[in-house]
Amino acid sequence: CSKDGKVREPAELQDIVNPQLRLSTVWTARAGEGSGKYRASLDVTVAEDAVYAAEVGGRVYAFDPNTGARLWVTDTDARVISGPSVSGNAVLVGTMEGEVIALKRADGAPYWRSTISSEALATPVGDGNLVIARAGDGRVHALSAVSGSALWMFERTVPSLTLRGLGKPVIDGNRVFVGMDNGRVAALRMADGQPIWEQAVAAPSGRNELERLTDIDGALLLDGGELYVASYGGEVACLDGDTGQVLWRRAVKSYTGPTRIGDIIVVSDESGVVWGLDATTGAAAWKNEDLKYRRLSPPAAFAERIVVGDYEGYLHWLDPKDGRLVARARAGRDPIQAVPVADGALLYVLDTAGRLAAIRAD
């Protein structure tokens, strides 16, 4: 409780008495230099036949999911800032020059490139025939998955000061959900981009630009018809997918997306506290402050427990019932900002220096 000194000292890590999991790294690979000095939304994407990752230098990689051997690498020679994601037979990445680049999934050959109105800060997502890409100036572009030609565009104004980064849109059948920088969520019709509904999750309040930040930067979680949204404006909310009506709200400020395990919704807030909320009522089941100010990555579910990365490259496992720290592993020294992805028995983790690791737990 020393009064002066730096604001927000990261918490020290205590040892874990008897870890519940024995963790081992199956393979590691290098996806170039990672996001370099930039804050990017580069995350690892897992498909049946390959694991994809990209780096700011422009190279996109595909690795074998089990052995980590590199299947192919393509240099798009652009500053890749988001992606990769898989859509049909293409792998998509977004660049800082405002381009969406599609590569053939099989061999990484260039498929098409298309320019949108500004930096493609959110990972472009596609359902095989339509690609939704979000530009930094508040526009949502729909491109043909085959040729990249623009089909429709939806626009909302952007506040004068926002948080860097945009949330990944979520496609659900013939509609797509988009969490915007003004603290509102919109559901758009995939066919023509007309908004089905628009719901404010957090209203800007406060006297200066900084206090009025309400970005929804974390990925939205669609689960069983409900949409779970975390916003930096101070609210985590559960919306009904069809009408957008708010089912419950919880005062937690977060710039990373929530995840679900069992009937607990887990979200890590802006000051590094991990919250466990009851999925139906939003009541706080538990709260873990051991990782305060360690700049946590979005949480993910793996081996019936919650996993989250931090700024020193540690991976922490928490028990979903009471939020206690139960296991810890370390792949590298660099911060983990991308959400860890679980697939079957392996957990794929990408850090900001481009190190990709596959971890097994038993």
């Binding site: 002066d4 604001v7 405002g98 109105s117 930096e119 100036d137 900084l210």
Partner: protein, 741 residues
């Protein structure tokens, strides 16, 4: 309560103040009628005094009871932890707000200060700041205030990304901006984000395009994004360039007042040129300046582009609104406690009892800020009450300490190591006259100079300067032909402006020279000179010179030219009759891609006249070295003396230097560094008749000069002598730095 007449007044709750004070501010007195109107008015008056936190009027029989609660006084006030923002100008603004020991405390004052501090932190890029204020009650109705600031990390610009620019690449555009992403430079401040600077930068970007024909250029949107840990800021600018437009025609509309002939002369946008907003706005400003010259101070001229989309042409319609004519009644100065009124008034381009010209007043303000002893000048125009076309102008002056002491160290091939010291006082007794004393000491000479300069000897800017100097040079050590000369002299010179770029210099000088010769080392020529003229002589000199100087910078200019013709004539009646005439030319030719060609040429000729045509040895010209022909040792060119073969110099010197300046990537505007390839040619001849083109030594090479913050101008050159003859002393690598130039 029902109204009653006041029989007596009593006060309750007074602590620090007296009943007399309450009575002064209470608009009621014994015998007045108290009703709801007068009581409300009384309460408002007591609050207006600022002394009381709470006021109640009660009735006790026919006595009016004024129950007050005094505002607490501030017993102590402290701000902690604000080392980045603060210092005395913050304390001063807090004092003005009324937050100082002894003042009365108001809660909303504290919120105001907190907001102001937070705003200043955000303006300087500290988005992570936490401000917390504590008020603690103290006995005797006092409070102590403490504001605690935790500054956190400064927020720096990580990346500025321009999207949609095809014609100019990112690097050229980013260079136009004041805000820069963090780069390798130490102590970089340009990566601190501030909203005003961003707005300014967007305007710079807009005018960069519109000055090159892109009339329809528009900035579609700008995003400023902050990382969650608040340590980096990303700026994204989305632009639409549009097409290049040419000027079709120009016309004038509105109340033009001036006739067409004048307006044509004032505008520079010619049909057929590429449209440039800069040209259009500058032409409009010139018309405004002309109109304000005859009193239309508030004239507004707006260049309205009328676009012909089809063939991408635009005709510019200068719409003139002259506004009301105004005259200046009085000009006054405030804050000049150390400077005389006249020293400031003579800088004015606006006179009293004259038409009011806003551009003249602004030019006057800029001239004031350029005075070495003025730090800041603000101007305020106040209309004169009772008349609708008279204004008074007031200049608020902030003075700067006029004295300055400078020390410099230098080195040049000719003079070896050099130490200089200079004391200047730029505002002697407030008259704006400058006095300076400087000492210079290097391996071959020592000199002391005293100078006195009055920039406004006449009201129109003819300057007068008087200087005394004493110089001892022992050239016996260095190259020349073995004699010492001690010169004591004085000069009176007048600087007369002839036109905006041409000025004349005329004046008289007196020199008392003593030569010392040494049998073993002095050359024959010097000995013969001494035999003929003795070793001590005094000369009265008429010095004059005319110079045309339109260079845009004194150092590393990129435009303009300098032509200087000087003549120093030792007048008849002095012991030696000789004259020293020289012509120096310098022109700069800008080339595309920021290359510049600099051409230097100089001719110097010294000779006696009348009966003796003896030229004193110390007046001879020398050549070789960085100022004349690089690649040859300093002063080593030209005739040699007998019998030692040291350089003796000559009566005629002709040199020329051609330099191609190569733009450097690191510091683009070339203000403090310059890299150039050069070709030098020149030599010194004993007599003008000996001039022979073949004898002119040539050299070519690379030169680099840099303005170091400590050592002044540093010159490095590496040259290949092209036609060195045997006996020439060559120096491929030469260096000079410090104020030895």
């Amino acid at each position: 309560f029902d109204p009653f007449t006041i029989a007596d007044i009593r006060a309750e709750g007074l602590q620090r103040l007296e009943i007399g004070t309450v009575l002064t501010y209470l608009p009621l007195a014994v015998g007045d009628q108290l009703n709801s109107a007068t009581s409300r008015q009384a309460i408002r008056a007591l609050y207006a005094s600022g002394l009381f936190q709470d006021v109640q009027l009660l009735r006790d029989g026919n006595t009016l009871v004024v129950r007050v609660q005094e505002r607490p006084a501030i017993s102590s006030f402290e701000i902690k932890g604000n080392d980045k923002i603060g210092g005395d100008e913050l304390n001063q603004s807090l004092k003005n707000l009324g937050l100082a020991e002894g003042e009365l405390f108001r809660r909303e004052l504290l919120d105001q200060v907190e907001q102001e501090l937070r705003r200043q932190y955000y303006a300087n890029g500290y988005y992570d700041v936490a401000i917390e204020s504590k008020v603690t009650e103290e006995p005797n109705n006092r409070v102590s205030l403490k504001i605690e600031v935790t500054e956190g990390r400064v927020t720096k610009i990580k990346d500025i990304n321009i999207i949609g620019n095809t014609v100019f690449d990112d690097q050229t555009l980013l260079e136009q901006l004041e805000l820069r992403a963090t780069n390798w430079m130490p102590f970089q401040r340009s990566d601190r984000y501030s909203k005003q600077k961003l707005v300014g930068d967007l305007e710079k970007l807009q005018s960069y395009y519109q000055d090159r024909g892109y009339l329809k250029f528009n900035i579609r949107s700008v995003q400023v994004a902050l990382t969650p840990e608040k340590e980096s800021i990303y700026i994204t600018v989305n632009v639409e360039e549009g097409d290049v437009y040419k000027v079709k025609s120009r016309r004038f509309s509105g109340e033009t007042i001036l006739n067409e002939r004048f307006l044509e002369a004032l505008t520079t946008t010619r049909a057929g040129d590429i449209f440039s907003r800069k040209e259009a706005t500058e032409s409009a400003d010139r018309i405004e300046a002309a109109l304000s010259d005859i009193g239309y101070a508030f004239a507004e001229v707006t260049p309205i582009p009328e676009v012909d989309e089809v063939n991408k042409e635009v005709s510019i319609n200068y719409y003139v609104e002259p506004g009301k004519r105004a005259y200046v009644r009085r000009i006054s100065f405030v804050g000049n406690t150390g400077t005389n009124d006249e020293t400031l008034r003579r800088e004015m381009r606006q006179l009293e009892a004259a038409p009011f010209s806003k551009s003249a007043v602004e030019r006057s303000r800029v001239r004031l800020t350029r005075l070495p002893f003025i730090e800041e000048a603000e101007v305020e125009t106040k209309p004169v009450p009772g008349s609708d076309d008279l204004v008074d102008i007031q200049f608020k002056i902030k003075e700067r300490p006029p004295g300055s002491v400078q020390f410099g160290v230098g080195y040049s091939g000719a003079q070896g190591f050099l130490v200089t010291g200079q004391i200047t006082h730029t505002n002697f007794l407030g008259t704006g006259n400058r006095i300076d004393a400087s000492v210079e000491n290097n391996t071959i000479s020592r000199s002391i100079n005293l100078g006195w300069t009055d920039p406004y000897f006449t009201a129109d800017g003819i300057s007068q300067s008087i200087s005394l100097f004493y110089r001892e040079s022992e050239s016996v050590i260095r190259f020349s032909s073995g004699f010492n000369s001690n010169i004591l002299g004085a000069n009176l010179t007048y600087g007369i402006p002839l036109s905006e770029f041409v000025s004349l210099r005329a004046g008289l000088g007196f020199e008392e020279v003593a030569l010392e010769t040494f049998p073993g080392t002095t050359s024959d020529e010097v000995l013969q000179f001494v035999v003929r003229n003795g070793t001590r002589f005094s000369t009265y000199q008429f010095r004059t010179g005319i110079s045309y100087d339109s260079r845009n910078r004194t150092f590393f200019a990129t435009r303009g030219a300098l032509h200087a013709l000087t003549l120093d004539l030792a007048l008849p009646g002095s012991d030696l009759q000789y004259f020293n005439a020289s012509y120096r030319a310098q022109t700069y030719v800008p080339l595309p891609y920021r290359f510049v060609i600099e051409l230097n040429g100089s001719v110097g000729y010294v000779d006696g006249y009348g009966n003796d045509d003896d030229v004193p040895p110390y007046e001879n010209f020398f050549a070789g070295g960085p100022r004349t022909v690089r690649g040859y040792r300093d002063g080593s060119l030209g005739p040699r003396d007998t019998p030692f073969g040291n350089e003796f110099g000559g009566k005629l010197r002709t040199t020329a230097q051609a330099e191609l300046v190569i733009p450097l990537p690191i510091e683009s505007d070339g203000k403090s560094t310059r890299l150039s390839g050069f070709f030098d040619i020149g030599n010194v001849f004993a007599e003008p008749a000996d001039f022979e083109f073949g004898e002119l030594r040539q050299s070519a090479g690379i030169a680099f000069s840099w303005f170091t913050p400590f050592l002044g101008l540093l010159d490095l050159s590496y040259a290949f002598p092209l036609n060195a003859k045997e006996g020439d002393r060559t120096d491929r690598f030469q260096i000079t730095f410090g104020s030895g130039f």
